[in-house]
């Protein structure tokens, strides 16, 4: 069953056309990698999905058109975003960050700290005082506390130490395996993406240029469109 569907999605920043025609589907319980070089429209696509920028074309979640909805209503429908650059609520503690985002559902503070034990050790610490990796874990935990049906991770491992990246990837794999969450992943690590993703969608200059099973993404295609 298709959860998220984008068809011919277009978006612009002023006079600049950022998305020309993005086609993308994420099924229930499916993990989809959204790939492409820098500046090809990956983050813009995420912003359009979350209604943070205006867009045109088809954009629906579980059959419901998202275009008439403001950003917070889209989140309430079940799209949890882990934005690029983390952006935790710096003045709040770890616990407060989680409580502020909490919505009823299976994901609770206890479940988030079981997924990220480091957060459990730092519940009373201000988010601003956490390391980059811990802030990333908090950003994921905060998104999970909204009890989403679809989790979007935009460059979740960017700029992190290798050992922390491993922890994050292990958590994403656990989310797929145990929670059965639908996930849309943006990352540059082809090897790790291949380990968790079912399908891949590649963007080139604001357009979907390739869609297929992750297993079908050959090194040549990776080299051609993603540069890895």
């Amino acid at each position: 069953m298709t959860l998220l569907k984008l068809e011919g999605l277009t978006a612009r920043y002023g006079a600049s056309q950022a998305l020309i025609g993005v086609d993308l589907e994420v099924g229930a319980g499916e993990v989809v990698a959204l790939m492409g070089r820098n500046g090809m429209g990956k983050t813009t696509t995420v912003k359009a999905i979350c209604r943070m920028i205006p867009s045109e074309g088809r954009l629906s979640l579980d059959g419901q058109d998202l275009h008439p909805l403001p950003s917070h209503r889209v989140a309430r429908l079940g799209i949890g975003l882990v934005p690029e650059g983390r952006r935790c609520f710096a003045d709040l503690t770890v616990r407060e960050n989680l409580i502020a985002a909490a919505r009823p559902g299976d994901w609770t503070q206890a479940r988030v700290t079981a997924l990220f034990p480091r957060l459990g050790e730092r519940l009373t610490q201000r988010a601003a005082s956490l390391s980059g990796g811990e802030q990333q874990m908090l950003a994921i935990g905060r998104a999970l506390m909204t009890n989403p049906r679809l989790l979007i991770l935009d460059e979740a491992t960017e700029g992190l130490a290798p050992i922390v990246r491993q922890e994050i990837w292990a958590a994403i794999a656990a989310l797929k395996r145990e929670a059965g969450l639908s996930i849309l992943l943006i990352d540059k690590s082809l090897r790790e993406l291949a380990g968790v993703s079912d399908r891949a969608v590649i963007l080139e200059r604001g357009r979907t240029v390739w869609t297929g099973a992750m297993a079908d993404l050959t090194p040549e295609l990776g080299e051609r469109y993603v540069g890895v």
Partner: protein, 327 residues
Amino acid sequence: MIPERLLTFAVPAALLAVALWALAVEEPFTITLATRAAILALAAVGLNIALGIGGLVSLGHAVFFGLGGYAMGILAHHAQTYTTLDLGPLSISGSKSMPLIWLVAVAVSALAALLIGLLSLRTSGVYFIMITLAFGQMFYYFAISWSSYGGEDGLSIYVRNGFPGLNTLDPIQFFGLCFALLCLALLLYARLRAAPFGLALNAARQVPARVETVGLSPLRLKLLAFVISGAITGLAGALFADLNRFVSPTMFSWQLSGELIVLIVIGGVGRLTGPVIGACLFVLLEHWLGALTEFWHIWLGVILLGIVLFARGGIVGLLTGKAGPHV
């Protein structure tokens, strides 16, 4: 350094102790000063919800203080003149009952905060400050021209309004009433700040766009905070009018809005006991320095300057050694 938790109990206890000491040594004027501090603190606790948690620098909170005052003044005026208040087809008699007056003051202030908030919260920063200031000035000049209720001269109430089971003319009993309401407001503030609503409001102050991504509307959060804030400040206005047995357009003045902000900044923005400390210091300076010179505001300005430059967390920050609640 003093733990902030200790201040939570020590500061209101000190205010209560001053009033009880004044009762013991038969200094009713000191009880009145303590009452004035408690009422100003109550108004500032209200503003602290919008300013301290939500980051809303409202230069129009005197609107709610004044509306609370006029709610009391108008109801008491009609009660003491045995006339009715005609609102189109509705004809309402006046009242000398504090609980009823408080209810009206809170309802009117909350409604005004809702309408003002709906318009002003679509802006931010300096524009929000200017819009709230403009609303304050509108109400101020309206009150000046409202001749039915005294216009520029204001309204005098002959006898303080009553509260069931209490003699409100007795300074200590009226103080007790104001002090109890202040404690309730402090409790509400503490609960709100720690509740998901307060945390989300705090988050909306920091990064509004990120709050939207967790399914919350920053506008609605701020609007609700503004309404609660205005309602509490309105209640304080009704008590202030009862304390002085007088209401006038100055209750709507932008200077009063500014003074409420100053109280909070001196005590500590977003700190639970900050408004209480700020209000007590303000009343002390007003009384002591005011007796020495009519330019006592200069010294208040010097203190404010010192705190802004050298103590970012206000007096609470100085006492606790923490510039913010979590630092």
